[in-house]
């Protein structure tokens, strides 16, 4: 009996995945654990390993195809075996199946493995009208953020329309637009340019960045603080780390820690803006922007305010490693209440980070420069770390945002006191 391989469902919110490459071709012998194909969600990429042994009889979905989750992708079985029952309903022949073709029944089968239309779980449970569902599919509305107003908590068309008006689109950690990799000039030996097809992740970033900037009233405040103390503290941690069994706590970790301890007193920035209401969070679910090979990803560190500095550092590192490896679960890439992004290591002195909707703010961490300040002892030079806070003026006014930034700078300048808190 041939076995169909389906497109796995990677997380609640994933409805389809793109096949990025095939490692096997029709007719190849397959052993358990062999990689059949690689695929990516809008946020992560995965390898699909064979669960059964046999010959790859047919491939239904080609590289680059967007395949709904749970739909059949290929079939493994004995050569010559009939696999027509697994073929997608609308395509009577698979992509290539010379060996098995004669055995195929001429009629397309009535039923294939049920192609479950995986939908983003709507916020109000699982009730949604077909019309609303279609609209969401067409527009990429994020059903998890749609507020149902239909009878019995059903999402109806107007609810999706309302969500779209608010720019609630699927996926996409919104954030600083990372420097777009320029098409490699070197690669083009004969041409002046090379067209590089956008990856799924890049498309999502493109859309959500654009939506973020086109639907919000964003502006950025820049400030800096005297980093003398945190640098000294970081130095002492580095020395004592091994003995104490501490993580390699970075300056960025210190900033994350300070944010987690400061922002709860500035709830408008630890919030989601939902048009007719603000959702203020009681915990700090800290989004951490990570530059990866596939593009920008933002894993979430939940309840950061409850973590010790060491715990925070350890967990943040874990998330960053997962994100960079491309194997992070899509579920870990959502739900942030505020985001911190860091371009300091790349020497950036100030920038305008882009908010990930429906969050109301994002903090950019900049590089450390030497500045001079006047003291009773005369002008002294000190290390100044820049902070760029972008906020949504629809949700927060300038002064409260500035107050948060000021408080954050104070806490970072008095990190020892903050630790005592």
């Amino acid at each position: 009996m041939a076995t169909a391989v389906i497109m796995p469902r990677q997380g609640q919110s994933v409805e389809s995945c793109i096949i990025t490459s095939w490692s096997k071709k029709v007719g190849d012998e397959v052993k358990i654990g062999d990689i059949l194909f690689s695929y990516e969600t809008d946020k992560s990429s995965f390898d699909e390993e064979a669960q059964v042994e046999g010959t790859l009889l047919a491939i239904f979905k080609e590289e680059g195809e967007d395949v709904p989750c749970l739909e059949n992708v290929c079939v493994i079985g004995k050569p010559g075996e009939d696999f027509s029952q697994f073929a997608p309903k609308d395509e009577s022949t698979p992509a290539a199946a010379p060996a098995a073709a004669p055995a195929m029944s001429p009629k397309a089968p009535e039923n294939t493995a049920a192609p479950v239309a995986a939908e983003t779980a709507p916020a109000g449970g699982d009730k949604i009208s077909p019309r609303a569902k279609n609209l969401a599919a067409k527009t990429d509305a994020d059903l998890s953020r749609v507020v149902p107003t239909g009878p019995d908590g059903r999402i109806i068309e107007r609810d999706v329309e309302a969500a779209l008006d608010k720019g609630f689109l699927k996926g996409a950690p919104a954030e600083i637009a990372p420097a777009v990799a320029a098409p490699s000039a070197a690669a083009a030996v004969e041409n002046d340019y090379e067209d590089v097809k956008l990856s799924g992740v890049r498309k999502v970033i493109a859309r959500s960045m654009h939506d973020s900037l086109s639907t919000m009233a964003q502006l950025t405040l820049n400030a800096s603080f005297d980093a003398t103390k945190i640098m000294a503290y970081r130095a002492s941690l580095k020395q004592g780390a091994e003995g104490m069994g501490l993580a390699n706590i970075t300056l960025n970790d210190l900033v994350l820690f300070a944010v987690s301890r400061t922002i709860l007193e500035h709830k408008d920035l630890n919030a989601h803006f939902l048009d007719d209401k603000m959702r203020l969070f009681n915990h700090v679910n800290l989004g951490i922007a990570v530059d990866t090979d596939r593009g920008l990803l933002v894993p979430t560190l939940p309840c950061a305010e409850k973590l010790s500095l060491n715990e925070l550092s350890l967990q943040a590192k874990g998330l960053i490693t997962e994100a960079q490896s491309g194997k992070i679960s899509p579920d870990k890439l959502s739900g942030a209440s505020f985001t911190v992004t860091n371009l300091g290591s790349l020497g950036v002195e100030s920038f305008t980070p882009v908010i990930n909707p429906p969050q109301t703010g994002i903090l950019g961490v900049c590089t450390i420069t030497r500045r001079v300040k006047t003291t009773p002892n005369g002008d002294v030079s000190y290390p100044a770390m820049g902070l760029s806070l972008t906020f949504d003026h629809r949700a927060v006014d300038g002064a409260p945002a500035a107050k948060f930034l000021k408080a954050l700078c104070f806490n970072l300048e008095h990190f020892d006191l903050l630790l005592a808190k």
């Binding site: 077909p130 107003t149 239909g150 009878p151 109806i156 068309e157």
Partner: protein
Amino acid sequence: MPKSQFVDPKKAFEKGSIHFKDIPVCQYNKTLEQEKKIYTKKDFMRIYRDMAIIREFETMLNDVKTKSCYNGVEYNNPGPAHLSIGQEASAVGEAYCLDIDDLTFGSHRSHGEILAKGLSSIQKLDDKELYDIMKEFLDGTVLSVVEKHMNAGGDIKELAINFLLYGALAEIFARTTGFNRGLGGSMHAFFIPFGIMPNNAIVGAAAPVALGAALYKRSNHKKGIVVANFGDGACGRGPVLESFNFASMDQITKLWNDGKGEGMPILFNVFNNHYGMGGQTRGETMGFDMVARLGAGFNPTQMNAERVNGYDPLAVIDAVTRQKKLLLKGKGPSLLDVVTYRVSGHSPSDSSTYRTPEEIQAWKDADPIPAFKNKLIAGGIATEAEFDAIQEQVTRRMTEIMKLAINDEISPRMDLEKNPDAISGMMFSNLHVPNMDPGREPEMTLPKEECPRVKELKTKVRTAFDANGKPVSKMKVFNIRDGLAEPIIDKFYEDPTLIAYGEDNRDWGGAFGVYKKMTEAIPYHRFFNAPISESAIVGSAVGYAMCGGRAIVELMYADFIGCAGDEIFNQMAKWQSMSAGILKMPIILRVSVGSKYGAQHSQDWTALTAHIPGLKVVFPSTPYDAKGLMQAALNGTDPVIFFESQRIYDKGEEFHEGGVPAEPYEITIGDPDVKRKGKDVTILTIGAVLYRALEAAKILEEKYGVSAEVIDTRSIVPFDYSKVIESVKKTGKCVIVGDAVERNSVMRDMASNITEMAFDYLDGPVTVVGSRNWITPCFELDHMFFPQPEWIIDAIHEKIMPLPGHVAKNNFTTIEKIERAKKGI
């Protein structure tokens, strides 16, 4: 109700008594010597041959049913076979007297009658006519089989007998080479060119249908008489008794054609075989003692009733000949009680538990066929050998025909896999025939311009509002009644076959005034008051249409549909397709949905009629639509159930620009109409509820900013969903509203269809707002029973799209629905 006849109380109370004449009972007593003066040897032998053919035909069917084998040929026939072995003399005797213009209608037990009438007609037609009939019938399908596979020795009459037997048997065996392509079968076989009209599997149904054929002859001055054959058991059926009365009603002789006295040319011929299936009529299930007694109850001529020995073909011929003479003289209707017996069972599965073997044997001993043979031998008319030769030929012919009829290549069944639409294509004739008999001038009593109603219509304002937007007064506005009447009057002046009748149609103008002021212009025989006999009213229209006429019949309230249930559901609906498209059924049945008269006078029964395949159903609610749909129905050839609503007869035209045109125009039956454009929700209406839906649309717009599109179905069968689906694709929301009780209604059917067809576009369930599953309460409680504008809004709010700030007063929740369904309310 004619004013010309004075109902005098003095006369009404006059003393006296009713006198009856004697009704003859089996009084035929001619000797063979006397009969020899009437019949030649050929005639005698033909009578014998016809009986022998029928006996052999039915013996063959009996053998096939009980032994799956006849004369060595094996065959299994799963279809029905209600045999009449023993009744041959009655059938042949009757048919012997009938000409081509005389029509017979029969029952489920009519193989014998079909063959007898066919054989009689073959005898009476000249060879050329006969051959042309066979050649033209179904493009020669039946003829080509017998011509190709049987040798008639160049004798056209022999060929025609082969044709008759083969056409009937192929029909019984459901072959496409049968008389009705196998769609009629054993109980419905017929062949109009020989005057063999449809037989009916519903007991007694032949009576009203045959009455209609007689009405066609009577009203259109056509030659010949009509014979309605049915059994003694059928005399217990209302439609039969209604037909006796309808055919006997005084006006036919006293008022029609200036009282020239011509009665209905119909013979109600009862083949009295003593049993209605197993119930013994005389002595058990009836009280008439003898069927002939019934005649005395219906008119002073006692329907010329007579009881005859049906086991003697010569006695039957004697009686039918006299009856036919009377009928042609205008002395109808007649009733014959032909005493006979079927020695075969009701059907081959009948174990005769209701009668003794001795009884059957006694009747076998009296078998009319050997009796007749012996009489002729004794009378020196023919020898045993001559009869043997006839029998030998009959058996050989029957065997050959049976072989042909069971041969799947020569006599194939309808191939619905190759031709999936073969039956679909016969459900409606969909022809456009404005005049059923263009060769004749329509008989009218006034020129059209002098018809009082035509004059009145000229003064009417054809829009609901005048130039200043003010409503036109009720008396002046061209209303729905006028929309219905105008094309009907036009048609009376166009189609000479059009007749209209129903209760109180004439002077009263119909209970709701649709026909008022038409009486003066239309002669009685085209437009009359029918007795309160719904079965006879509708059934006769069916027979009238079978003969080539067009009829509009009216039942007053839709609630009376039940009184004519069989005639609407089994007769009107089915004969076009059961005849394989040979018959046309240009009938309009008008019914009106009441509103103030409680449980039995306020029901929208569209669902009942729409459920039955073969009926077109319309329900207009504006004068423009009423006229256009009536015109389309009048120009068509299909049966149309025309629903009207008493709530809105007074309505003027509010929608169609320019109002209702005076000229004829048609609205395609099946085409719904957008009465109000909108974008947020579709409200689909059936009938008078349109106006309440428009009120709801207004409230939705003004109070909730919801723009409703209101579509009037206008028709129910057929129905083109495209406009509705287009609208639902736009709005995603759909409510269906009608005055019928909600359960199993047309609304429910449409809701399910729309859900299937537009599922992916729906933003909520297609919701039905119908009347409660109750009896209709009194008028004062109307608003608690029939859908109101607020119900529509509540339904949208609760089932589809909650309306901000709206508080529903009516419970459309699922819990309530489950509770109501559980209780059956």
